[in-house]
């Protein structure tokens, strides 16, 4: 395990506060370093942690606000309308107005609810989402903790939100929330298996669970070397995030808002926040594990590359939301167990054989692996598409008539410049 001073973020803040960091602090820190008066230098470590955490949480809040705006604008584009455009240039201030509105709404707690559990659930939802950022390297040397089980930690805390959903539904004592929890638990537990196994291919290539080591190992981005792993990880993360093709847990046409039905004001705001924070964190994980992390061309700083790649992933995630309808729960379960699970096993076996053939691969050998993996990827996707395609969906087969298209006159008129 590398030491904390490898993180320039940590070193900079620590050395600004305390000069007792001796040799490691030479030439780092603002104002020549050592701001804390003598005798108080034991405060440097907790203060450093507090400052970094405060900065990080504010950064995440800003990122979430930006993402809410970006997602609504993009969805507007995809759906042939404008999206939020009234408050501020390009509607940029809309999320701030939304946040203020959310905070000032009445905080309703149902009388049948278990008040303690009801209050605890949004916090339990947000905490794991924030925890992921602790191990996310957002640039060369810019990370909070480089622990050698970072990827495992992300998977572990990512699974903890199931407990929050269960707490929300049992706490609010609402039947729709109960349905939602049943669906969410079934789905999240099923998708966790392909999610974990799809990462093993990357682990075999990099030989480490540390995100920093994984980024370092990517002489070419791993989504080229591990297309099947990338595909399965992307799909399974969408399910873990409860995002649109898989958002049966909060399907508003069936079960109101699922486990969030009874929540209002800032408690609802926390759910909303954690959902977006988790989405951004997941895009960060995808960037670090599959897209080469902070690697890029030289004059532009590494942090910029990381954020740019994250924004690209987020755009794809919004794109998927705009393009796919919500699946039924049985389709979701079939897809997890009959397609994704087998695909990850294929990826695991093929990657294992390739790593056996080329242990600690050079860049050229990574390209050979990429070639073989792409063939496997395309062939297996084709086969699974044929075997599990729409013809074999028993419910749909008899019901859907082909060629029912709305004429233009059936579509409702689009109001100019409305919100979404």
């Amino acid at each position: 395990m590398p030491d904390p001073f490898d993180s320039i973020l940590y070193r900079y803040v620590y050395c600004t506060l305390s000069s007792t960091g001796d040799a490691e602090c030479a030439g780092h820190g603002l104002f020549g370093g050592g701001l804390l008066p003598g005798g108080l230098e034991w405060l440097a470590f907790p203060l450093t942690a507090a400052i970094i955490v405060a900065a990080l949480i504010n950064g995440i809040l800003g990122g979430v606000l930006m993402m809410i705006w970006g997602e609504r604008r993009l969805l507007g584009r995809f759906q042939g309308r404008t999206g939020p455009n009234r408050w501020g240039p390009f509607g940029l201030l809309t999320p701030i107005a939304d946040a203020v509105k959310t905070m000032f709404k009445e905080d309703v707690v149902p009388t049948v609810s278990d008040r303690l559990v009801f209050t605890l659930a949004p916090i339990m939802m947000l905490a794991p989402a924030l925890l992921i950022y602790a191990v996310l390297p957002i640039g060369a040397g810019t990370w909070l903790a480089d622990i050698n089980v970072a990827l495992l930690l992300i998977i572990a805390v990512g699974g903890a939100n199931v407990l929050a959903i269960l707490a929300a539904s049992l706490g609010s004592g609402n039947r729709y929330a109960m349905f939602s929890a049943m669906r969410a638990v079934a789905m999240l537990i099923s998708y966790e298996i392909p999610l974990v196994i799809s990462l093993i291919g990357v682990l075999m290539l990099s030989g480490s669970l540390s995100l920093v080591a994984i980024v370092d190992a990517q002489t070419i981005p791993f989504f080229i070397v591990q297309p099947l792993g990338f595909f399965v990880f992307l799909v399974a993360s969408m399910a873990e995030l409860n995002r649109t093709p898989f958002d049966v847990a909060e399907a508003e046409s069936e079960i109101v808002a699922g486990y969030m039905t009874d929540y209002s004001s800032m408690k609802f705001g926390l759910f909303f926040l954690s959902e977006f924070a988790a989405t951004i964190a997941t895009s960060g994980v995808i960037t670090a594990v599959f897209l080469g992390g902070w690697h890029g061309f030289d004059p532009i700083p590494s942090q910029f590359w990381f954020v740019a790649k994250m924004v690209a992933v987020l755009t794809v995630i919004v794109w998927i939301r705009a393009s796919w309808p919500r699946l039924r729960i049985d389709q979701i379960m079939n897809f997890a167990w009959k397609a994704l699970f087998e695909l990850t096993l294929i990826n695991l076996v093929v990657s294992g054989l390739l790593v056996l053939a080329w242990p600690s691969p050079s860049t050229a050998e990574l390209w050979y692996m990429a070639g073989i993996n792409w063939v496997v990827f395309l062939v297996s996707i084709y086969i699974f598409g044929r075997v599990l395609g729409p013809k074999h969906d028993s419910v749909r087969a008899g019901n859907i008539q082909s060629g029912v298209v709305l004429s233009d006159s059936d579509a409702p008129a689009i109001p100019a410049g409305g919100g979404d």
Partner: protein
């Protein structure tokens, strides 16, 4: 830094003990389940402090992420149980508690008796500590002739830093798939048998 770690340790320990007490005293079953998850989480935090990162994350993954959820899900499915057994105790409370307390004292006493407290520090030389800190493990024999895994090969003492430990995950993984691979495989077969058995039990019987 050491003082901070002490503070975090006491917070974690207090959290683990308080939530563990809540599990057996709270009347609502679901609240007890949440307290149990909190207790597991605190223990995971203590593992982190002890630099056993893999065990810490495994603790969160398995206990918080799986076992707590199964407990909570069972409560969800048996909704009538939600309000809980009003006393959380029965006639045999004293007997059961006595047996468990006796077992705990026996185990703790055995560990305390079996650990060689006086000899422990003297056996670790500076170089052994350096090897542990820099992760240069190797199988060899220690001074009393037992085979141990902690040793060193050309350790540079200056490369060791306080509180920086080696890659325990890789070491554990090596043990798991090399030395104890038979046990791992046996566990896999056992779990598979359990899954198939449970499916066979709950499968709808074809009507006669």
């Amino acid at each position: 830094m050491d003082g901070t770690i002490d503070v975090v340790f006491w917070i974690m320990s207090a959290g683990a003990i308080v939530t563990a007490l809540l599990v057996v005293t709270v009347k609502d079953v679901f609240r007890a389940a949440l307290a149990l998850a909190g207790s597991f989480l605190s223990v995971g935090g203590i593992f982190f402090l002890l630099q056993a990162e893999f065990v810490a994350v495994a603790q969160i993954l398995v206990y918080v992420g799986a076992i707590s959820i199964i407990v909570a899900f069972a409560i969800l499915l048996t909704r009538d149980m939600g309000q809980g057994n009003p006393t959380q105790s029965n006639r045999l409370l004293v007997v059961g508690g006595g047996v468990m307390a006796a077992l705990f004292v026996a185990v703790a006493g055995f560990v305390a008796y079996d650990t060689n407290w006086s000899d422990r520090d003297s056996r670790l030389t500076d170089l052994d500590v350096t090897a542990a800190l820099t992760g240069q493990y190797e199988e060899s024999t220690n001074r009393s002739g037992d085979t141990v895994l902690i040793a060193f090969t050309g350790v540079d003492e200056t490369s060791a830093k306080d509180g920086v430990f080696a890659d325990t995950t890789g070491w554990l993984g090596g043990l798991l798939v090399r030395d104890y691979v038979l046990a791992l495989q046996a566990l896999g077969v056992l779990l598979l048998a359990a899954i198939i058995g449970s499916i066979a039990l709950v499968r709808e019987q074809a009507s006669e």
